[in-house]
Every structure is written in structure tokens, then in C-alpha cells.
Amino acid sequence: METILRGIAVYLVLLLVTRLSGRRTLAQVTPFDFVLLLIIAEATQQALLSDDFSVTAAVLLMFTLFGMDVLLSYVKQWSPRLASLLDGDPIVLISQGRPDNEALLRTRVDLRDVLEAARQQHGLMRLDEIDFAVLEVSGNLSIIPTKGAG
């Protein structure tokens, strides 16, 4: 029982902390972010298993974590409002060529990130070639070029 309760508690805490840390944090994974992720995984593993290293505990944890994930996906499908709360919505950072400064500031994305995504996705050279920029729920930046650009 303890293993399952630990699994549920750690799952919910990780979900909460990841959500509250903001989408930007894991949006563009740098090498250091990757190291940070490994450290978090290691720290969490201790809390999940404690001193029980049996195969039974590991299997129970897998069932619990996957079960929570499946359950939550159904809950999110049932309630789009809850899905918005847990995953967030896409955020439009540039609309019809005009940067939304509030959205850029709050999501901690600056125009250099937008330009980088524009170069990578469409080979765009300038900001005025971007019609729309959207920070997706996944944390990726989607760029829609103006007609004639790209």
C-alpha cells in the first residue's frame, strides 16, 4: 500500500511543481536542463522506493504511475477546463506581425527565441517576416510566416 501511496503522492507533486514552474522552464531543453532532469529523477527515485528495492515495488510503481497518467488523460478529456489548468493553452506571442509584450514577458520568451525558431523552421531572416508566433502546450514555438516570406 505504501508504495502505491508514495507513487501517487510523488506523481501529483511533480505534476504541480512542473506546472507551477512555468512552461518556459522545460520548453527548450538545454544541456543543463537535461542534467537537472536527471538529478530530479534520482531524487524522486529515493522518495518513490525508500528502502524497498524489490521487483514487486518497482512493478507496483510502474502500474501506479501509468495508471495515474491514463486516468488523468481521461479526466482531461472529460473536462477541457481541467486540461487547460493542468496543461495550459497555446499562447499567441505574435499576432499579425505585432508582438504581444505581456505574453512574451509572462512566458519568459524573448524575441531572440522567436527569431531562432523562425530561422530553424522557415529560414526567416527578420521579425517582420513573422505573421504569427505561438507558444504551444508542448513548450515548442510555432512560427507562421507572412505571405511571401519563407
Binding site: 514552474s21 497555446p90 499567441v92
Partner: protein
């Protein structure tokens, strides 16, 4: 059965078809900022000892005529902690009595030094230490909390009872 499927996001005035709820996002941004302050406060509280495992407030000191008892005020489930008993009076023998309530909450990992005798009674266990020299002897009890929650228990030192409380964090 409804077979209409999921609803498509609305088309905005600028032509983009996307489900963006800016009011909700604004609220979440505020919540995010407040939660970062909360993360900071939790870290400061942990540094101060409110989450156990070191820090100024992690341990409580209780002075009895017979001894000074340093006990964990905050501790963590399944992690090691310690009690320090500093005897104030010179005697030939010191006796430490731990009630059953103590053993319900803690597992003893080690007693330092080892007691000369151990005896079991209806209310708990007694540990006797033979002493040489003046006062100021110390006994350390290394423990591991067995369950999370608020632990109330008693320790008797040379016949004087100390009522102690430890908050064991999960």
C-alpha cells in the same frame, strides 16, 4: 450516444484557429509567481530547520534537573535522527527509560555508549549506564522515525519524565 466528436477551437479575429483563454492564463501567471515565492519560503523554512535534518529549529532542548534533552522537533520518515541526553548530576549510574509510545514512533538504530543493562517492563524499556568521573556525560540515541505524523512520547532520565513531541514529515 454523442458522435459529434471533440469541438474544434474557435477562429479568432486575427484569423488564427486556437483555443487560448487569456483570462485563465493571466490568473495562472499570477498563481505561478506566487508559487515561486512559496518555493522560496519553503527553502528558507528548510534552511531554518522546519523540515528536519539540521537547522536551528530542527531540534528542541529541554532542561530537566537530571539532564538536558536534545530531541528532534521536526524529523523525516525513514531518515536517521538523534536524541542527545546530557546528564547534569554526578552519579554512579544513569538510567534512561523509554516508554512504549517512543517505540511506536521510533526505531533505535544505535545507543552510544552501549548500556550496561537493558530491562523490559510493562510500560517500556530501561537502559542503565555505569558512570565514572564528574557530571557532563552524554548519551546519544540514534533513531529512525517509523511513521509520519505528530509523535507524542516520553523519556525518563534518572526518574524524571520528559514529555516530548516530534513532527515526522512524510
Amino acid at each position: 450516444m454523442d458522435e459529434s466528436g471533440p469541438e474544434a477551437p474557435p477562429v479568432r479575429a486575427d484569423g488564427l484557429q486556437i483555443s487560448e483563454d487569456r483570462r485563465l492564463e493571466r490568473r495562472l501567471w499570477i498563481l505561478e509567481r506566487w508559487s515561486w515565492w512559496l518555493f522560496g519560503l519553503i527553502i528558507l523554512a528548510a534552511l531554518a530547520g522546519f523540515t528536519g535534518s539540521g537547522g536551528y529549529f530542527a531540534h528542541a532542548r529541554l532542561s530537566l534537573p537530571a539532564a538536558e534533552v536534545t530531541s528532534p522537533r521536526f524529523s523525516r520518515w525513514h531518515s536517521s535522527d538523534e536524541f542527545i541526553l546530557k546528564f547534569a548530576q554526578a552519579r554512579e549510574r544513569h538510567t534512561v527509560f523509554l516508554t512504549h509510545a517512543f517505540f511506536e514512533h521510533f526505531k533505535i538504530e544505535q545507543l552510544q555508549p552501549r548500556p550496561e543493562t537493558t530491562s523490559l517492563s510493562a510500560n517500556g524499556s530501561s537502559f542503565e549506564f555505569r558512570v565514572t568521573g564528574g557530571p557532563g556525560h552524554r548519551v546519544k540515541i540514534y533513531v529512525q522515525p517509523m511513521k509520519p505524523g505528530l509523535a507524542h512520547y516520553q523519556i525518563e532520565i534518572d526518574g524524571e519524565r520528559a514529555e516530548l513531541t516530534t513532527l515526522v514529515l512524510p
